[in-house]
Symmetry: none
DNA sequence: GATGAATGAGCGTTCATTCAT
DNA sequence: TATGAATGAACGCTCATTCAT
């Protein structure tokens, strides 16, 4: 029992940095880098100012650590997409679905985007990082899906940058959610449906023959 | 010559507020609301701190005035699109082209988006304002273009929210430009081409007959 | 008619300094020297800041001029007391009455006292001035009245500083009025009656024989 | 010795608020509320600006706390007067003596009066507070002394508000001390003597028989 | 490790004062 | 004489950071 308690206490301590990073995330999201007070982060964890400085050099490095903390788990974000089965069309649909799920489920992913835009000037690394771990994989994956579809004869030969256009509605959706989430409701289902429908069929009437 | 000087003097005075608003725009873009110093705005204009307070109550109202200043001209942004000629397809293409031109030409439009994301919590009005003067008109216009195309038999009947998906790549483009503009190059031409191609034809191979 | 108007206009201008001094009095009373803004004084007159500086070197000298302006008329404050008729006792009573009338009627006299207390450290001259034009004459006059009464056999021989004690209730009344006027009501009639009664008879029961 | 040091350290901390309040008193007395700089209060204690804000919300609340700090001890000011012995006349004399002692000894009491006059508009509470803890008790006590004297047949039946007049010279003395203390000398002994003499005997010659 | 008192640089804001018109 | 735009010194207040405990 003593062991258990010690363990727990030790664990508690081991968790401190993570607790602080989580608290930092919430505060930085709410107020932005400059307006966030180290003290508010601390009291969210239930410790005092000084404690934050035990674990982090300063506010700047705390912010950067927080960015790494929330963006680390994103690295394998799209892993599940590799296991999709079915025709290229089916996999494309499923993949788009997965992306929306991800966007809706993962608040950290969304807020990371806010940081990129709001603090990108102050912390240029996060701009690149975000591109490398999210935007780029997203497009690569979509591109390879398209390529497969073309190879399989399901998709027509698409022009360069086509995958950008294919992915774009999801990215726009992410921004809408970021922007208007708490002020307007977004109908995910019909948005996704429209997206997939557009991607698959375009707008022009097909004239048989 | 006396006239010129008098003009210049009087004009100088009349221009002060606008000068300050322009300077404020640049500083707020660069550093965000909180980190921007009123003094820096002033010295960008070539005056001292106190002068800013001759024209604006405080930093907050200066920011809000700046938002109004840059978003006012946006109100007729999409007016030119109403004069498009040709088939629905042609007009759709031209309209998309116009949107990209706008996005590329109008830095203030782009940076407004940054403010919406970065300062939306602090200044909730700008979130709604931006939706009302940009997002909403954009979608309405696209929707009516689509409706016409459907009526003319050029476009197929599209599901609800389709216009969101049609517009989305342009919005994503805006964000990319905002995010990566100075760090990566975006190939506008091929992006637009892909966008239009997607919208018109979708991705699925058309099987004749 | 032109003359009249010109006169009037000229008079207006001649009055400017006085207008400003009157306005200054009100503002300084309301907020004290430091917290009063020159601009508020100006707008009370209906002119702008700069105009005040046409007539007065700076805020400090404006304040001093204002003090002179309101305390000048006080110099003959007690003149009327010299014309009192009747027995010493009657004149003493009348004099005390006059003092209370003065205190109640002359707001400037009262507020001058506030300046002396509130700004005496900043403007030491007004302390002396106030003593010289108000406190001192008040006591001298009372002393000479007492002396006459003694000489006439109406008053008993009083100890030194007796006149201080005789005058004191009126001075205390002034302070009460200054302090509590707008928050409590002071019953002047009974206060004066008690004052005169005290001065004439004291408190000890007189045992005949 | 370790104890001493520990004590000193801990005590130092506990004393900070009081040190600051005492320093604030001196500064506010010297310059008035508006002209006093928080930094001057701080350096009087030997700390920096920021430290003051560790203990007090802002300048306004510091001032109010200072008023409470100096006026709290005044609440039992007149307690000792309740233990006076002797005839009513003797007790009246002793009480008057006590009041002057109080006025002369207690600088804070005197300066509180200055705050009431100088800052009463800005801080209306202190006007009432001062009335409640000083003026009112003073008069009540004097009134009950007079009532006893009357009952005992030592004093004659006095008109209403008589106690005001009886107390007034002491209050006027307080103001004189406040006003002229450092510029003129007040002869307390003869002032008190005259006061008591006036109160007991009045001015009118007593005609035997 | 944790605390929180203390620091001090920094910024928003005010306002007396000046001066060109 | 009157204006009011502009100045700049000053001050209230905040907060990241330090350090003795």
């Amino acid at each position: 029992m003593t062991d258990l308690k010690k363990m727990t206490r030790a664990e508690q301590k081991a968790r401190r940095p993570v607790q602080i990073l989580d608290a930092a995330f919430e505060e930085f999201v709410e107020r932005g880098y400059v307006a966030t007070r180290v003290e508010d982060i601390a009291s969210r964890v239930g410790v005092t100012k000084g404690t934050v400085y035990v674990y982090f050099e300063n506010k700047e490095q705390l912010f950067e650590a927080m960015i790494r903390h929330i963006s680390g788990p994103l690295e394998n974000l799209l892993a599940s997409a590799n296991e999709l089965k079915g025709t290229a069309t089916e996999r494309l649909q499923q993949n788009i679905d997965l992306i929306y799920d991800l966007i809706i489920r993962d608040r950290k992913l969304r807020e990371l985007m806010r940081f990129v835009i709001a603090e990108g000037t102050r912390f240029p690394q996060i701009v690149d990082r975000h591109h490398d771990i999210f935007i780029d994989p997203l497009e690569r994956q979509m591109q390879s899906l398209i390529d497969e579809g073309v190879k399989l004869g399901e998709f027509r030969q698409a022009p360069a940058a086509f995958c950008d256009a294919v992915v774009a509605p999801a990215i726009a959706f992410l921004f809408f959610k970021l922007l208007f989430d708490e002020r307007r409701t977004l109908d995910k289902a019909s948005y996704v449906k429209a997206h997939i429908d557009l991607v698959l069929h375009g707008l022009v009437e097909r004239h048989p023959g």
